[in-house]
Symmetry: D2
Subunit: 349 residues, 4 copies
């Protein structure tokens, strides 16, 4: 089928390539003419502006926006006057699902369908395909299903879940109609919240392994700080890059994020040059806020988010307050930097 793509960054361009490979017709636009030209060279139809783009589409028109979330609202406003009832706008970016709900409501009277698609797959999506979570009206979903089927990974070499039989369901091919507008980004948001939790579980575990030599290091520090209570149990020097590689095979925690961890540690075994200031995107935050809104406990997801905040020093004032309190109630002075081991430290308070 025919589809328009607005926004030809890495993901937008790769989705277009994946679509063209499978025989779909793509009309493409980007504020950067070079990006347009590159895809035209590969077989796409280029557009010089949004009006031009729309004029090149067959009815019902389908326009996929693959742009930074902050620009989506403006683009929808610019393009919707050119569209008519039955046409479809797809937001494939990382918008907050609140915006989807608002945009779908705003477009309702015009009859233009708003479809939000959460996409996961990262830089590997061109080859592996993208996992697609699709929110929007049934009619619109049915219309775009052919392109979804192309963009999605398909069943690939993933073993079929026991008990599933017959024709492969959409979710077995890597795309799913999750419900009305907003639900696609909602499911993607929670997906990323889970991703934070899994990443944190792996990172915390590896940190414990890394510190399994505390009993050895302890000896070096014996003069300055109180001893570990049982140093004999922390005499291990664990090779974390090898362990990450090992766990990829046959272990119950094998996962794509573990694959990435193993790859990262193979590439840079000592993690040189990494300051450990971990960014977070909106999804992890929105997930925690959604959990709070609906009253569902999410301590693991929240903890993984808060660890990222702390990694960037956002716990600083709280820690200063704690140090200040300790000074007050017992004259406890802060340890100088470097005295990090104090497993058996005692205070009389």
């Amino acid at each position: 089928m025919q589809i328009a793509m607005v926004g030809l960054g890495r993901m937008g361009a790769n989705i277009v390539r994946r679509l063209m490979r499978d025989g779909h017709d793509c009309v493409v636009y980007d504020v950067n003419p070079d990006s347009v030209a590159a895809l035209v060279a590969e077989g796409a139809v280029g557009a010089s502006d949004l009006a031009d783009l729309v004029s090149k589409l067959e009815v019902p028109r389908t326009v996929w926006l693959m742009i930074p979330a902050g620009l989506t609202g403006s683009l929808v406003d610019q393009i919707s006057p050119h569209l008519e009832a039955g046409d479809i706008i797809i937001d494939g970016g990382n918008s907050n699902y609140h915006d989807d709900v608002r945009r779908a409501a705003a477009l309702k009277d015009s009859g233009i369908h708003f479809v939000d698609i959460g996409t996961s797959g990262g830089v590997f999506g061109l080859e592996r395909g993208y996992c697609l979570m699709v929110g929007g009206p049934d009619e619109a979903f049915a219309h775009i299903e052919p392109v979804l089927r192309t963009i999605a990974p398909g069943s690939g070499d993933v073993e079929r879940t026991p008990g599933r039989t017959g024709e492969l369901a959409p979710e077995e091919l890597g795309y799913l109609h999750t419900g009305p507008s907003g639900s696609g980004h909602f499911v993607k948001m929670v997906h990323n919240g889970i991703e934070y939790g899994i990443m944190a579980a792996l990172a915390e575990g590896l940190n414990i392994l890394k510190n399994a030599d505390a009993g050895v290091r302890e000896a070096e520090h014996s003069a300055e700080v109180a001893p570990l209570e049982e140093p004999e149990f922390y005499q291990f020097t664990i090779d974390t890059p090898k362990v990450a590689e090992l766990w990829r095979r046959g272990s119950v925690i094998s996962s794509w994020l573990l694959d990435l961890t193993a790859a990262a540690l193979a590439e840079n075994p000592t993690l040189d040059g990494l300051a450990g200031r971990v960014s977070d995107s909106g999804e992890g935050r929105w997930t925690v806020k959604a959990a709070v809104d609906v009253g569902v406990p999410a301590p693991v997801l929240a903890a993984s988010l808060f660890e990222r905040f702390a990694s960037r020093g956002e716990d600083h004032y709280a820690n200063q307050v704690l140090s200040a309190m300790r000074l007050q109630f017992g004259g406890h002075h802060e340890l100088p930097a470097g005295d990090v081991l104090e497993a058996g430290g005692r205070k009389a308070e």
Copy 2:
């Protein structure tokens, strides 16, 4: 090579089968003679007791114990008098690594090697192979490497980590010498701690999805409880079994634990009959205690453990105390069971 297996439960028996398939000679013993007979019928040499078992072994003897952790100490005490310097005792069960450290120290003078092997793989290990984390002396590791290579999954269809070249390293075949005695179970312990974290991340995320209809349910409860602040954002009825299946393909959280989740939800989509009382084994607990000992933050791993405790009602007294305090300071009475939504509840305190 030749190896003895003591303990022919599911895992012990399957490891023997996997070894025999690959041409190793197995001498087997269990307190249950039927278990012995079953494997003898498949080609193993049976033993009538521990002395008999040892008498059938070539020097250096290798005895693998695959028994409940609570019995390991007693078995080591019973079997070691029959062994001599250079022989090897393997504990392949789920022992606390503290016990390994103690046992290796106790055996030191005898010259008997103590090797602890953390094994992951569950009921699927017979086919997939077991991921093996091996602690113990270099000499003993070298001696048993042929059997490790058989029991481990091998490289299988796991894609090679970018940057790794040349002959496959042991960790790429699914087994690793992690360090001295105790380190195998230590690494396995942390592995299970991570497993708890990943499981919890998935479960919390799915719970948020399940409750994405809070705005719909809210309407039903409007008379009894205060309204959600923005019910328009929680109008989704998400099909969690389909979402779990979807994420298996192309998403960054694809993982074996997600595969299991999808399988569980395919088999029992409504989770009928499950009370949600989640057990925990020792490893998750030991991981948190190790993190505390070495002074490494592990909020995600700890939270995942504490959720399990709470699932079994172990938070009950704390919650009663909270209710009692609320009664004191504002006359706030507990809601009756059933009034679970109170997102916008207000109190004047």
Copy 3:
């Protein structure tokens, strides 16, 4: 000075009483005429409706709303047409500070000042006074300071903070101008977030004390579940009501919430009749959401909130998912209710 009070529930009526005791003139209104009559009998001027109320006020008029947060918006809309530039509307309820920011902006053109006051003190406020966090324009704060001074606790018998000298500052008298409109409820919101954390710390600690006899109870359960690893260390039967009372004297955790805990446990030492279903009001939730918005880690405050959600069973689906996963990967069946101790439980996974 003269002030109008709208909403004569427990807190509104008690504030009026505290004001009249100190010589202020109060004009009062409530939808319930009996509530009006009761205070008129104590010396207040009654009003029959909002127009009547406003007509009885001297310029600049000051109207304090002490009503459920859900009704504040409607009341502001009803009363503001009767007011004029320089008049003051006070919201003394538990509104979300977002609403204050919006209301102040909406009233800006009219010249009516909007003041939000977070009040803490509960049922004890009539005698102890209320702690007041006041957001709004300087001019309005200056005008109402006399009533704030009366409603606040004053310096009372609280020891002066070392280093503070000279005339008592407002914060030493129990009221503070925290900044522009919204800041009063913002500070109160965080105050309640902290309250949740303190309550949870006390409740968790008492729960640990309550379970210090796990080694004793263990013996009873020995047939069903695996033993505690070191039962000799959990042989204590701690009298938690006595401990709570003890800590009120000389300990570093002495606090008003501990006083309440001791009172609750003195009244009902076994906490009979409390199901432990702990409600939460909006403030704890908003605090966590604010922390997420500004990117500040708040794991303790979030955990205390999530514990309340879990106490009401909102973790149920997550726990079912965990049980379902465990069934999949190892055939682990849930323990029947009652087998809650499994400290040393083992699984072979």
Copy 4:
């Protein structure tokens, strides 16, 4: 009554002073003769070594050890040969209760009573008295009750808990017999665990207040990072020292730790010179380990401990791993130091 004190540091010396003021006879010893001389000048009987100390005591002898926990075992070993059945050794330091249980068992055959006393009160104890949690045999408790009564704060100006009548119970005077040997330090351990939780709740809350100006600071950073979603709600510049002072009066979170916070912020409002590297003593760690042992959820207490670990950089390796993973799956580079606000940051993953 007569009592010996070994260890004349700040707490030991102050306890002796408090005892002598109330007419008790104190025999004192310290490795530092000047410390002995100082108290002799105030009326104590000095001892030149442990044998001398014991020789000066009436039967049954009572020896209070107030020394670093690491030295207690050695002192008990040195002094017990000089004692006989019916004599009492008190450990008033911060020992792990495990050690008490072991020491009481080791002394059992000798008939010497071992009493462990958890003491809270810090530098203010000389004036305020110390809160005493006492574990040990009934007979020993009864014998030392007169000195406990002196050291404890007494009822002071703490309001009596409603419902308590008649003669003041020991816990109302600030000391309590908590059970057998070990239980005193166990209760003190949990007390300190709670203390960590309360401190963290206050620190996290103040940190949120401190960052209530994120919407203002956001504007400065607009070029570098994505905007806060709703900057209009984070326009407050809160004076945290004033807020801490305010909350001391009439609020539900008034507490001694809040008093200290207010004092700390009055003394150093900008917290200059504090790096925020927060130490922890053993008790917080032991509390979490005890919770894990008995299977009781303690997410708040654990989170408060882990925040301290993170404040000292112990999360570094975990954070490096997270950064390394993010680099792998999306080419996400770390933000340079300084770009700490990224509330609306987006990533395409």
